[in-house]
């Protein structure tokens, strides 16, 4: 049984007098112990909302969360330490993160699941010394206090590669560089050896050389501690180097999923293909033209009317508008949600010019 099984997760934002927004619309995936799973997509595809839903961090009002997300608790073959705060009846079982109450979630957050946010400056408390923010978790979950907590905190900072950890503990977040702040956040996330770590764009705010350091650190942690990592990012390059399994999200649904080698070797959904063709690659010969995806996510149609990507898709035909396409098996664990997947019979190139809604809503987006 996988460590985390997300089954048909949906998040709907409701507001009186407004149309409901289906930010996440039936997303399912699993994360195994010691595995890195990537959620990839552009802004607005629902990847961050997925992570917030799993962490129970969405506001309670105006949000409807559906589906289930079972996290297997201690008792498996994992390296997790037994935790006294977990009730006995759950020691062998699993917990549904979406159904757990607030008190239960507070116990789980930090000890079983942890999160690393995108912007390290705004996710650290600016008026509290770094040390106190790290020891807080140790105090809450492991009951460590005083010198013992400080020693442990210094060890943690050292483990994530922060030089001179004792001094840093007394300093404030603004005194640190971006890389150090992100390392501190990771230290806080791994403090209680969680079984699942969710990283939401952990390197987007950082320079590339620092990004390389942080990715290396995450790789080490996964490798050495057996922590599973759910990596949320827009950067296909990061995914290619780090993730075992990849889920490509578009407009709140998984449009393609599979192991990274299969997915990068032969992507089949036109959106994944389009993404790969629109990134300038460092190793591509100079002058190789980019093939952008036309339009923007504003052109999307609702999934119920057909494929949401159809208005931007070069392979669109009338068949794409006959109800929502199903997520189908391509081969092995490689799944895709497309009527005319790339590399399967259907002729290449634009089938019937622009997409359905394109002409009316694409004004000016070229």
């Amino acid at each position: 049984m996988p460590l985390l099984t997300v089954d048909d997760l949906s998040v709907t934002f409701t507001q009186r007098g407004e149309r409901d927004v289906h930010a996440v619309d039936g997303v399912s995936f699993t994360v195994d112990e010691g595995q890195v799973v990537g959620l990839v997509g552009e802004s607005g595809c629902g990847k961050s909302v997925t992570s917030l839903a799993l962490m129970g961090l969405l506001p309670s009002r105006g949000v409807r969360v559906g589906g289930a997300a079972h996290l297997r608790l201690n008792g498996g073959s994992g390296a997790g330490t037994p935790d006294d705060t977990i009730p006995d009846q759950e020691q062998q079982g699993s917990v549904d993160l979406l159904a757990a109450d607030a008190r239960r979630m507070r116990d789980l957050r930090g000890s079983q699941i942890a999160m690393v946010f995108q912007d390290p400056l705004s996710s650290l408390n600016p008026v509290v010394p770094l040390g106190l923010q790290v020891t807080e978790i140790l105090t809450r979950h492991q009951g460590l206090r005083g010198e013992a907590a400080r020693t442990k905190a210094a060890e943690l900072l050292e483990r994530v590669g922060i030089p001179d950890p004792r001094r840093r503990l007394r300093e404030y977040p603004h005194q640190q560089s971006g890389g150090i702040r992100q390392r501190a956040l990771i230290a806080m996330a791994v403090a209680c050896r969680p079984r699942l770590m969710i990283a939401d764009e952990p390197t987007t705010a950082l320079d590339v050389t620092i990004q390389a350091q942080i990715l290396e650190l995450l790789k080490d942690l996964v490798h050495n501690e057996g922590t599973a990592l759910l990596m949320i990012t827009h950067d296909l390059g990061v995914v290619a180097g780090l993730c075992d399994g990849i889920n490509v999200l578009y407009a709140g649904r998984v449009v393609e999923a599979g192991p990274r080698s299969a997915l990068f070797a032969a992507p089949t959904h036109p959106y994944s293909v389009g993404l790969l063709h629109s990134i300038p690659r460092l190793d591509a010969p100079r002058g190789e033209p980019l093939t952008p995806i036309r339009g923007s996510i504003n052109d999307n149609i609702a999934w119920n009317d057909g494929c949401a990507f159809a208005p931007r898709c070069d392979r669109y035909t009338e068949a794409c508008l006959e109800g929502p396409p199903e997520l189908r098996h391509r081969s092995g664990e490689h799944l895709h949600r497309c009527v005319h997947p790339v590399g399967e019979g259907h002729q290449e190139g634009p089938a019937s010019g622009a997409g359905p809604a394109a002409t009316s809503t694409m004004e000016g987006s070229g």
């Binding site: 150090i180 590339v208 000016g364």
Partner: protein, 353 residues
């Protein structure tokens, strides 16, 4: 402005004859660090740009790449005189911009336009698109005839792939990619010779990035524009540029044409930067050599002595690197490197520490 305005701001023999449009000579921009409550004392300087020389050929694209804090943005702004130049010269088409009076400089800006990073932040939310595009024309006295003005701005919008219907709308009504197109149209409407693009795509989603990059290339082909592209993303810079300059802590460490830089990076920092850029291909990612740099960028207010990079350089040698600042020297035609041991590292006679 440390030097007096020289009398002959007219022509320069070096710049007038050749095909270069922009020549920057030993440009320095130092920001004072002030302290004190009653008496304002300068207690030091942030050496944002510390002696950069580069040449941008007419009709080509020069890409400046570097991490945050390396001074690339300040350099771009200094060319436009949006920050005060401490020392050095900026020859644009035979005129030294660094020593122009402010009114003359204002007139010159018609020929040098800028596209900013944040498309929302650089467009006034209370101006509609027509007003945004007309403003530049009015400022430069080009908006005499209403018909002509309208024709020009509709043409500029059309060039960036937007319709005239956008004119009466406001920036918030557009998506990020469209806003960036408006930013480009605003630069284009004055028909400048040089456009400085400061991180033109870093705020955009990847699928939109490609649209904007292609647009910039298309405009260059059609109009023979010259670009100075400033970005942190080496893959983007390499894609658009003919020549790439790599900056570290206020100075150029390597300059070469785009293909050479990728095939034969000679400066250790360029190599590290290149190995850190993720490539969306698992086989490449798993097999390539990685050079991880340790630590962070040192403070530009107190840069290390000797080679600026020696504190993080995996090849740094104890004596020379810490004491002697390497000159940017030519090691092959069109390839300049600021490293004492560039040849030794390339030949493999000097190994990583």
């Amino acid at each position: 402005m440390s030097q007096l305005m020289s009398a002959d701001t007219g022509t320069n023999e070096a710049a007038a004859g050749g095909s270069s449009l922009l020549e920057v000579h030993d440009l320095k921009v130092h920001f004072p660090i002030r302290s004190g409550i009653l008496v304002d004392r300068t207690i030091g300087h942030v050496r944002a740009v510390d002696g950069v020389s580069l040449t941008v050929e007419r009709g080509s694209t020069y890409g400046l790449v570097g991490e945050s804090g390396c001074g690339k943005t300040t350099l771009g702004r200094a060319v436009l005189r949006l920050v005060d130049i401490t020392d050095g010269q900026v020859w644009f088409d035979g005129t030294d911009l660094a020593h122009l009076g402010s009114e003359q400089m204002r007139r010159q800006r018609r020929n040098l336009q800028m596209v900013f990073q944040d498309p929302l932040g650089s467009l006034n939310p209370r101006q509609n698109i027509q007003s945004i595009l007309t403003e530049g024309l009015q400022v430069h006295g080009l908006s005499t005839d209403r018909q002509d003005t309208r024709r020009r701005i509709v043409q500029a919008l059309d060039d960036v792939g937007m319709s005239g219907r956008a004119l009466s709308r406001y920036p918030h009504e557009f998506s990020g990619g469209q806003r960036q197109r408006i930013g480009i149209a605003r630069a284009l409407v004055l028909e400048p010779e040089l456009i400085i693009c400061d991180e033109p795509v870093s705020a955009l989603d990847v699928s939109i990035q490609a649209q904007v990059l292609n647009l910039l290339e298309e405009l260059q082909r059609e109009r023979g524009l010259t670009y100075l592209v400033i970005a942190h993303d080496l893959a983007v810079v390499r894609h658009v540029s003919d020549t790439v300059g790599v900056m570290y802590l206020g100075s150029l460490v390597e300059e070469a044409d785009s293909d050479t830089l990728y095939a034969q990076p000679r400066h250790p920092y360029t190599r590290a930067l290149m190995s850190a850029v993720p490539v969306p291909d698992p086989t490449v990612e798993d097999s390539r050599e990685r050079i991880l740099l340790h630590g962070d960028l040192p403070s530009p207010s107190n840069p290390p002595a000797g080679c600026r990079f020696h504190t993080r350089c995996p090849w740094s040698q104890p004596q020379r690197c810490a004491e002697e600042r390497p000159e940017l020297r030519t090691i092959a035609p069109g390839h300049r490197v600021a490293c004492h041991f560039a040849e030794e590292i390339a030949e493999g006679t000097l190994q990583r520490n």
